[in-house]
Symmetry: D3
Subunit: 244 residues, 6 copies
Amino acid sequence: MTQTDKSALVVSAHSADFVWRAGGAIAMHAAQGYVVHVVCLSFGERGESAKLWRKGDMTEDKVKAARRDEALAAAQILGASVEFFDIGDYPMRADRDILLRLADVYRRVQPEFVLSHSLKDPYNYDHPLAMNLAQEARIIAQAEGYKPGDQIVGAPPVYAFEPHQPEQCDWRPDTFLDITPVWDKKYAAIQCMAGQEHLWEYYTRVALQRGVQAKRNVGITNARNIIYAEGFQSVFPRVTEHLA
Amino acid sequence: MTQTDKSALVVSAHSADFVWRAGGAIAMHAAQGYVVHVVCLSFGERGESAKLWRKGDMTEDKVKAARRDEALAAAQILGASVEFFDIGDYPMRADRDILLRLADVYRRVQPEFVLSHSLKDPYNYDHPLAMNLAQEARIIAQAEGYKPGDQIVGAPPVYAFEPHQPEQCDWRPDTFLDITPVWDKKYAAIQCMAGQEHLWEYYTRVALQRGVQAKRNVGITNARNIIYAEGFQSVFPRVTEHLA
Amino acid sequence: MTQTDKSALVVSAHSADFVWRAGGAIAMHAAQGYVVHVVCLSFGERGESAKLWRKGDMTEDKVKAARRDEALAAAQILGASVEFFDIGDYPMRADRDILLRLADVYRRVQPEFVLSHSLKDPYNYDHPLAMNLAQEARIIAQAEGYKPGDQIVGAPPVYAFEPHQPEQCDWRPDTFLDITPVWDKKYAAIQCMAGQEHLWEYYTRVALQRGVQAKRNVGITNARNIIYAEGFQSVFPRVTEHLA
Amino acid sequence: MTQTDKSALVVSAHSADFVWRAGGAIAMHAAQGYVVHVVCLSFGERGESAKLWRKGDMTEDKVKAARRDEALAAAQILGASVEFFDIGDYPMRADRDILLRLADVYRRVQPEFVLSHSLKDPYNYDHPLAMNLAQEARIIAQAEGYKPGDQIVGAPPVYAFEPHQPEQCDWRPDTFLDITPVWDKKYAAIQCMAGQEHLWEYYTRVALQRGVQAKRNVGITNARNIIYAEGFQSVFPRVTEHLA
Amino acid sequence: MTQTDKSALVVSAHSADFVWRAGGAIAMHAAQGYVVHVVCLSFGERGESAKLWRKGDMTEDKVKAARRDEALAAAQILGASVEFFDIGDYPMRADRDILLRLADVYRRVQPEFVLSHSLKDPYNYDHPLAMNLAQEARIIAQAEGYKPGDQIVGAPPVYAFEPHQPEQCDWRPDTFLDITPVWDKKYAAIQCMAGQEHLWEYYTRVALQRGVQAKRNVGITNARNIIYAEGFQSVFPRVTEHLA
Amino acid sequence: MTQTDKSALVVSAHSADFVWRAGGAIAMHAAQGYVVHVVCLSFGERGESAKLWRKGDMTEDKVKAARRDEALAAAQILGASVEFFDIGDYPMRADRDILLRLADVYRRVQPEFVLSHSLKDPYNYDHPLAMNLAQEARIIAQAEGYKPGDQIVGAPPVYAFEPHQPEQCDWRPDTFLDITPVWDKKYAAIQCMAGQEHLWEYYTRVALQRGVQAKRNVGITNARNIIYAEGFQSVFPRVTEHLA
């Protein structure tokens, strides 16, 4: 099924998060005709580039450039556009201007749904900041009184994608997305992340485990061969016309 | 859209619960071609028939008969079949035989989804019992080793419908069902409950409030005129192919 | 019962919140002789004035003026004084000066109790900010070392009034206030909110539902005819001399 | 203040629980004119009589007799009547007859409020059983259809009194009762529990800690000299006419 | 390090649970000199033997025998003794006799620690039953008044081992056990479970994921090469003399 | 046991918090050879020095000096070094520089474990701020890209020490530290806090209650005479090689 004129927004704290945590969702929806746009708030230059720093003769600019290239390559494979806010990481801070800049992205993209981080992560304070920013920007983009006359956004559902240690983040998936048809793309995108090779197999196993779990949660008439899946936690209730 | 060969199961502690709490869902899916089957574990003869008892010259059998008639009338309007287990209420207790009897209903009905009560209700201990019974019976019906050779059930999603005082029951809706098209049927079914007239307007207001809330949670491309809705809380994660 | 020299404080994120969510409590306590003071942190000029913006030929100043008039009219009906901090909304931000300004209000008003928003609201980030501000200002106003020599405040109970979608905000009422005697005032105040007419009936139904629930939670010796009520969630334990 | 015709019910799993956990509340309300009735479900003969068993030459009957004497003596000091169900402990089990027997106590006592254990206690499975029994019996006693014609009970508030390790039981006090005026009685009652002398000072310290906390939570106009207090957690919302 | 005279108890709802969920802990402690005893409440003959049932020409006795052989083989590899209560599964029910039988096992084994299931599992009602049984039996075994004169047990810590879908069971590991040194034994034991081959790789991946997570949670001076781990959730606080 | 080259870090919002809440842990580990370093973010000059302010003729500088002297005396008794950030209290705010300054302390101290406040405290907004600061600084100190080339820290466990009203802060101890051997030191340190004499007995009772509770949670082979204890809540899972 190809849908036109539909879009989605992914708010990624660091430049690789969208790959590990939502690469399948991005590729699936791109394949369905969605325009998927990723905002990388930072390059993860301080906190998630250990391998690069250990190379020696490194500067923050060099790290950022390398990370940008990786993210762009991954996004291209997945079928998404990327935008870098470059607001720094470890610590990440977002002032009013950044918030409004993201609200403007919402207005421009008009997303059908939004993906970002879990609201709690004791291992990474940048992640909850990104999610809170994504949620508050959405609310501002909904307001008639913000840049009156511009087209406001509706009420796109927001999902938290999977954090690194899910139970410690009080993250509980309520939605499994079957990503079996696009797993090859996700794994190819994962391989762009040369600086974090130790995570390749970790997130392959995550996809396999979620695949098994998804299968266990499928009703009888929906039988299908799910091998890989991604889990998501909804922020808002969904509205539907049937419960099966 | 009419779907054939699809069915749903509603497990109602007392003979009126399915009307207040899931009448819209029943009518909606009946209209979509679902075979909807309701199991009433009791008639609510002790705990939810105050008005009948106050009439005087009343016996438990008379109360049960009156409640049965009301439930049958309501179910007919909604388009569902009903089955009465008559296990008593206040207190409700279910032994192994009742559990297996319900498991057998699952096997017979092969439901696409299941509706029952919230898992907590400090105002009504029969309600959580009904939900636990519904969940455990589902698990038994899934087991190859229970009546081997019979057709097992898959993994139909289970939802808790709305209790009387939702916040006190730790019930949080994650799914809103638009019942606007069938509201007239639900209200007609509600009016069959002559013994609980004080609840008619209460549940009309519930439907209106959930309607407003549903509208607030709808994404932009799904704009539609929702006036009445029912809320449900999922027990299990759902499995999907798109997130919008 | 008329009590003199007693006061209460309401901290409202936007200029209409105090009406929908606490109008009954304000009118009840005003009728009991309380001096009730409302702080409106913003006019809700961006986020809650959609109808005004759609009129065309509108500016932020005009919206604010209209919203101020509505709030003043409503407060007068309810019997409260109002003070506008005008710190802006969508997004709302409060720096140290605003916090201390609110602490000074506490010192001046010496409230017996405080009302503000729920601590969580995924639909509105200004609401939790207001509650956190109200709580932190209270703590500062309690400190001997803040403006030493001034009269500190005691430990007034703080309540979260009802948000728009209560279950989504993890809001659970533990206190119901019977507002039946002042419902006419609350509804008159509600009608001052010309820009949000779609909420009039919504909050009338909220009051009716809470009224029914309050009645269900009343002990036998307290029988009374409750029709309208407001729900509140306590932040702190209460101290009492009897448990009935 | 003396109130007549008012009563309260305490459901105690073992024959000493009501002393440690609610002795102050009992004495306070007895002093206010309440008829306070205690149901001891068991004597705690197996699980809470270690000192007696270590005496040697002991039988279950002897232990029960000793525990009965202690409980009667304590109740007399506090001003309450006691009734022993003698259903056994470690493990405690309550069948339908016991449940209805307790429902009948509700009907007879017509309590203004009810005290029992926390709903969770990983150190003691009898405690949650007692609370669940107390809650379900209350619901049955409210039902018109249970022994039709008898006087039903209203909706008396139910409180969980303090367990031995409060945080491990997810018990959070939302109500502090000042028991300073009756502390001497509570301590005298505590001293009746000869078999559990190691707990005397423990529960004295509990009362002192809760006294300090109660004082910290008192509003300015309620200043009073609280030294000893008991904490309680409400099961249901309270209904009130003022929030101070 | 070899410790003598120390023992541990594992309470497994079905005859394979102890392998998937605690096989590493069993082998680790057996290697440390612990006597590890496993109680299998049932053989999982109905609910977890689908592959066997599908073979045809099968009876419940044949399934049980096959499952018993698998469990015994696995236990031998891990270094544990096993005892089968054979109380049936799907549904599992435990009466007073079973509870006391398990309490007697506690008295006999005198475990240093106890492992069982999570307290919640919407996919499997036998699992929480097993954990509750394990906890209540422990409490009875602690009571001086149960079989007075017998040696009571102390306060062995109780852990919930990992359920199949951890987040859905509200299970959050607070303890990671490094099982790298005994992984070969665990995997050999896993391979005894011929009837559930689809789970072999699933639980291998679980061990790898928990291994990565354990490594992330290790303090600097504890650096070691963890590859495989098992996660556990504590029921009770631990008591210690140092916090590193 | 004396361990050399090991260290610990305590992040205290106000200059006395580390004494009431972690004085035993500090003295225990100092006695075990740990270098324990305390960071006092403020002197508690506004919010926790009421007695000093009431003396009259007082200035903020005088209060700070008095509080500094008390803290230094207490730390010396406990065996810890102290560092004062002097960032102010009521309200406490920490900008990026303060955060990085604390990250640098982590790098310098290389702690084996970290102690700070609970993540929630409705009575004191400075406390959660201190804990969040402690956690975020730890994360930054772990990052290779922050001051590349400096020695990063590992993953020291972080514990929340006991707040003043534990249940209201959602604080649940999962670890009890036996502080009996150093109680005399803790009480001597407590007595340095001349300005808060009302808390001396309060925290003595806290230590006694936690001592009783610790004893109740000790396994049989660990029998020892615990009289005084401190409770802690872990932020992260621990990694271990045995479960007893």
